[in-house]
C-alpha cells in the first residue's frame, strides 16, 4: 500500500513540468551557473590611479614593488588629486594612492614620519580587500628597510637592528582553501542552499496543487509516502551536487564521501518535514513561490556564513537554528571544506556531530509537527465534507 503510494507520488512529480524544472533542472544546473560566475575566484588587477607629488626615487620604488602584486594594477598616473578623483568617480579606477610633496624629505629625516594616502572604492568590499592588503604588505616591507637604515645610522649592528625592528616575525598560513578564493568560500554554502530551497519550493508547489485538486493528502500514510518519494529523488540529486560536482569542478572537497552521505540523510529529512509543515498553509500551487522566494536570501544571511554568526543578534540566531539550512550548511562546510568528520574523528579532526544531531532533532520535531498539522487539516476537511 505505502509502496504504491510512493510510486504514485514519484509519478506525480515527474508528470508535473513545473516541479521537474525546480526539482531536477534547477538543482543540477544552478550549481554550475554559480561555479561559472565565480570561476576566477580571486579578483586581480584592480585598476588604481597614482598621484605622486613627491616624484622621488623612494615613491617610485614603492610603486614599483606594489605594481608587482597580482591584486592591483597601476593604470593611471595623475598630476593632481582632482584628476584621480574624476577617474574614481567614473569607475575607471577603484583606488587612488597619493604621495605628498614632502614624502622623500620625511623619509630622509631620521626623525620624520612619511605619509601615504590610500583611497578605496567601497562599492564592493573585494576592491578594498585587494587594495588594502597588498598595499599594507609593501608598506611594512619598506618600513622595515627604512627602520634598519635609521638604526644603522644610530650605530647599531645590522643583526641587532633587525631583531629590534621585528623581534618576532610572523608567518601566515591560510587553512582549508589555500587560494582564499571567493568562490571556494561561497559555493559550498550555495550548494546546500540550492538543495534546501528547491526542495522547499517544490514541496510547497506539490502541496498547493494537491489542495487545488482536493486530493486526500492529509493522512499519515500519505505524509510518509510523500516524504519517502522526495527523499529518494533528492538523495540521488544530493549525491551528484554535494559529492560529484565538487570533485568534478574544482570546488573544495577535503571531506570523506561517507561522511557527506551520512550528513545528507538527516539534512534531507529535516528539510522535507519542515517544508511539509509550511506547505499545509499554502492554498495554491503558485502562491508558495511568490510568497517565499525572498526566504532564500534571508536563510543564507541568517545562517551566519557570509556574515559571521558571532555578529548576529541572538533573536535572529535562535530563529536561524530552527531552519535546517543553518545546521546543514555549517556541517557541510566543516566536513567538505575544513576536513571535519562524522565517522573518522581522531585527536586531530573535529566532529561535525553537534550539527548532525541538531538536524535529527529538527527531523523529529518537524515530523511530529507535520503529523499534528495534517491531523487538523484532515479533520477540517472532513467537517467541510460533511457540511
Amino acid at each position: 500500500m505505502v509502496n504504491g503510494k510512493i510510486a504514485n507520488e514519484i509519478r506525480r512529480i515527474f508528470r508535473d513540468p513545473g516541479v521537474v524544472v525546480i526539482f531536477i533542472v534547477a538543482t543540477l544546473a544552478y550549481p554550475l551557473l554559480y561555479k561559472a560566475i565565480y570561476w576566477n575566484e580571486q579578483i586581480t588587477n584592480v585598476p588604481v590611479a597614482v598621484v605622486d607629488l613627491s616624484n622621488s626615487p623612494q615613491s617610485r620604488a614603492f610603486l614599483h614593488k606594489w605594481n608587482a602584486a597580482p591584486d592591483i594594477c597601476l593604470t593611471h598616473t595623475c598630476t593632481s588629486m582632482a584628476e584621480a578623483e574624476q577617474l574614481l568617480r567614473d569607475q575607471n579606477v577603484h583606488g587612488i594612492i597619493y604621495f605628498p610633496r614632502d614624502f622623500a624629505a620625511q623619509l630622509a629625516d631620521p626623525l620624520g614620519q612619511a605619509h601615504i594616502s590610500l583611497y578605496c572604492d567601497m562599492s564592493s568590499f573585494l576592491y578594498m580587500k585587494a587594495i588594502y592588503l597588498s598595499c599594507n604588505q609593501v608598506m611594512l616591507e619598506q618600513m622595515r628597510n627604512i627602520q634598519i637604515d635609521r638604526y644603522e645610522q644610530m650605530g647599531m649592528g645590522e643583526e641587532f637592528a633587525w631583531a629590534l625592528v621585528q623581534d618576532a616575525p610572523y608567518h601566515e598560513i591560510a587553512l582549508f582553501t589555500p587560494t582564499g578564493g571567493y568562490g571556494s568560500f561561497l559555493i559550498p554554502a550555495v550548494l546546500m542552499l540550492i538543495l534546501h530551497q528547491t526542495l522547499f519550493f517544490g514541496i510547497c508547489m506539490l502541496g498547493g496543487t494537491a489542495r487545488e485538486e482536493n486530493m486526500d493528502q492529509y493522512s499519515l500514510e500519505s505524509l510518509l509516502a510523500r516524504a519517502a518519494a522526495y527523499f529518494v529523488i533528492y538523495f540521488g540529486l544530493s549525491v551528484i551536487v554535494l559529492g560529484l560536482y565538487p570533485r568534478l569542478f574544482d570546488i573544495p572537497h577535503v571531506g570523506a564521501i561517507d561522511d557527506i552521505l551520512l550528513l545528507i540523510v538527516p539534512y534531507l529529512l529535516a528539510i522535507i518535514f519542515f517544508s511539509l509543515c509550511v506547505s499545509v498553509f499554502i492554498r495554491n500551487r503558485e502562491s508558495g513561490l511568490v510568497l517565499l522566494i525572498s526566504s532564500s536570501l534571508i536563510f543564507l544571511f541568517m545562517a551566519g556564513i557570509s556574515w559571521p554568526k558571532e555578529m548576529i543578534p541572538d533573536a535572529w540566531w535562535y530563529i536561524a537554528c530552527c531552519i535546517p539550512y543553518t545546521h546543514g550548511a555549517h556541517a557541510f562546510i566543516h566536513i567538505n571544506s575544513m576536513g571535519a568528520s562524522l565517522l573518522h574523528t581522531n585527536h586531530f579532526t573535529a566532529s561535525a556531530m553537534p550539527e548532525w544531531i541538531a538536524l535529527w532533532i529538527q527531523t523529529g520535531a518537524y515530523f511530529l509537527f507535520a503529523c499534528l498539522l495534517f491531523f487538523f487539516r484532515k479533520r477540517q476537511g472532513n467537517k467541510a465534507a460533511k457540511q
Binding site: L111, Y119, S123, S124, Q147, A163, Y170, F185, P308, M338
Partner: protein, 391 residues
C-alpha cells in the same frame, strides 16, 4: 478617449476587488518587504565585524609567552576564546567553527627572543568563512605588531630616547586609509543598499507574473478583457496601476528608511537615486510581463522568473565584481536589471558622479520596458484564445 478612462477605471476596480479577496497579494508585497527590511537592518549589529574569536597555542609555556597572552587578552579589539598548549585542540576548535584564527607561539620563543634570534610567530586563518577569517587575520596582525612595537619601545627607552621620537622610529612610514563614501567600512550600508531594492524587484517580478498568469490559469482572461472593452492596452494598464502604486509606495518607503532613518549615506542626488529605483521597479514589472508573455503558463513563468531573478544578486556584481567574471558571464550581467540599478546606486549614492555616468543605466532599464511591448501580440492572443495548458 473618455471611454478609455472609464474602462481603465473598471479594470482597476476589478483588480482591487481581486487583490483584497486574497491575502496573498498584500502578504507577498507589503508583508515580505517589511519583514526583509526589518531583518536586514537588524541583522548586522552596527555593520562592522570587529571581534572574531581566535585561539592562542602556547607551546613555549614561559613567563614571557604568558605575559604576551595576557597583554593580548587585555586588548579590546581581540577576542581570545581559547588558550591551549596543544595545536590539535585549536585546530579542532577551528574545524567546528568556534574560532576563525590561531596564533602559535613556538617552543623556545622566550630564549630566542632574549638572544635576539627573532623567533617566529605563526598565524593560521580559516578561509572557509571569508568575513570571519579576514577579521581574525587583522586581529592576529594587531597582536603580532603589538609584541614587536612593545619590544622596540622598551629598547629605545633604555637608550634614553623621548617617546615622540620613538613613535616615529617605530613607524617611519604610515598609510592613511580612506574608504571613499563609506568611511566606517560598514558592511550593512554596502550590502543592504543593493539587497533590499533587489528583494523589492523580486516581489515586483513575481507578483506581476502572478497577477497576469492567474487570469490565464483561472480562465478569467475573457472577463478581464471585457472589462477593458476588449482593448489589450487598457486591460494591462488598468491591471498594473494598483500594483505599481503599491510598488512605488514600497520603493519610496525603502528609500526613506535606508537613507533618512537608517542614515545610509547618499553623496549625490537623492532625486536621481529614487528615480533610478522607480525605473528599476518598472523594469522588473516589465520583465515579468515579458516572461508571462513568452511562457503563458503561470507556473512555468514563475519558476523561470524565480531562477532568473535570483541570479541577479550574484550577477549584479556587488559582492564579487563583474570585472573578474568570465566574458560570457559578463555578457549575462547586462540581462539583469539589478546590475543596472547597482551601477546607478554606486554613481549616485557613493561617487556623486554627474548624470552622464548613469544615463546608460537608466536607458538600459527603459529598454527592459520596451522589450515587454514586443510580447504583447503573443500575450494578447493567449488571453483571447486561452490556448495554453492550465498547469
Amino acid at each position: 478617449m473618455k471611454y478609455i478612462f472609464i474602462n481603465i477605471w473598471r479594470v482597476m476596480k476589478r483588480e482591487l476587488h481581486m487583490m483584497f479577496a486574497r491575502p496573498l497579494y498584500m502578504f507577498a508585497s507589503v508583508g515580505v518587504m517589511l519583514l526583509s527590511t526589518f531583518f536586514f537592518l537588524t541583522l548586522m549589529r552596527g555593520g562592522t565585524a570587529e571581534k572574531m574569536p581566535v585561539a592562542v597555542v602556547d607551546l613555549d609555556q614561559t613567563t614571557i609567552s604568558r605575559r604576551l597572552i595576557h597583554e593580548m587578552q587585555a586588548t579590546p579589539s581581540v577576542d581570545i576564546q581559547l588558550v591551549t598548549n596543544s595545536y590539535p585542540e585549536a585546530r579542532i576548535a577551528m574545524q567546528s567553527g568556534k574560532i576563525y584564527g590561531i596564533l602559535v607561539i613556538r617552543e623556545g620563543f622566550y630564549s630566542d627572543l632574549v638572544d635576539f634570534k627573532r623567533p617566529q610567530l605563526d598565524f593560521y586563518v580559516t578561509n572557509a568563512y571569508t568575513v570571519g577569517g579576514n577579521t581574525a587575520y587583522k586581529q592576529l596582525l594587531t597582536m603580532a605588531n603589538l609584541t614587536s612595537g612593545a619590544f622596540q619601545r622598551e629598547v629605545l627607552r633604555k637608550k634614553g630616547l623621548p617617546d615622540d621620537i620613538i613613535m616615529h622610529r617605530i613607524q617611519p612610514l604610515a598609510v592613511e586609509g580612506h574608504m571613499v563614501a563609506n568611511p566606517w567600512g560598514n558592511y550593512s550600508v554596502y550590502l543592504v543598499s543593493t539587497i533590499l531594492p533587489g528583494i523589492l524587484g523580486l516581489i515586483c517580478l513575481m507578483l506581476t507574473i502572478f497577477a497576469v498568469g492567474f487570469e490565464l490559469k483561472m480562465r478569467t482572461s475573457h472577463a478581464w478583457l471585457q472589462a477593458a472593452g476588449g482593448n489589450y492596452t487598457v486591460a494591462m494598464i488598468g491591471k498594473l496601476i494598483p500594483y505599481t502604486l503599491i510598488y512605488i509606495i514600497l520603493g519610496v518607503g525603502c528609500h526613506v528608511i535606508l537613507y533618512h532613518f537608517a542614515g545610509f549615506p547618499v553623496y549625490g542626488s537623492h532625486a536621481r537615486l529614487m528615480f533610478g529605483l522607480l525605473l528599476f521597479i518598472f523594469a522588473m514589472e516589465a520583465l515579468g510581463i515579458t516572461l508571462i508573455g513568452l511562457l503563458p503558463t503561470l507556473r512555468d513563468a514563475l519558476s523561470i522568473g524565480a531562477l532568473y531573478s535570483m541570479l541577479g544578486f550574484s550577477l549584479s556584481g556587488f559582492t564579487y565584481p563583474q570585472m573578474s567574471m568570465l566574458a560570457p558571464i559578463k555578457a549575462l550581467t547586462y540581462l539583469e536589471p539589478l546590475r543596472h540599478y547597482y551601477l546607478l546606486y554606486v554613481n549616485e549614492a557613493l561617487m556623486a558622479g554627474p548624470i552622464q555616468n548613469t544615463i546608460h543605466c537608466m536607458l538600459a532599464l527603459v529598454a527592459f520596458m520596451l522589450v515587454s511591448l514586443l510580447v504583447s501580440p503573443r500575450l494578447h492572443s493567449a488571453l483571447v484564445n486561452q490556448n495554453y495548458p492550465l498547469k
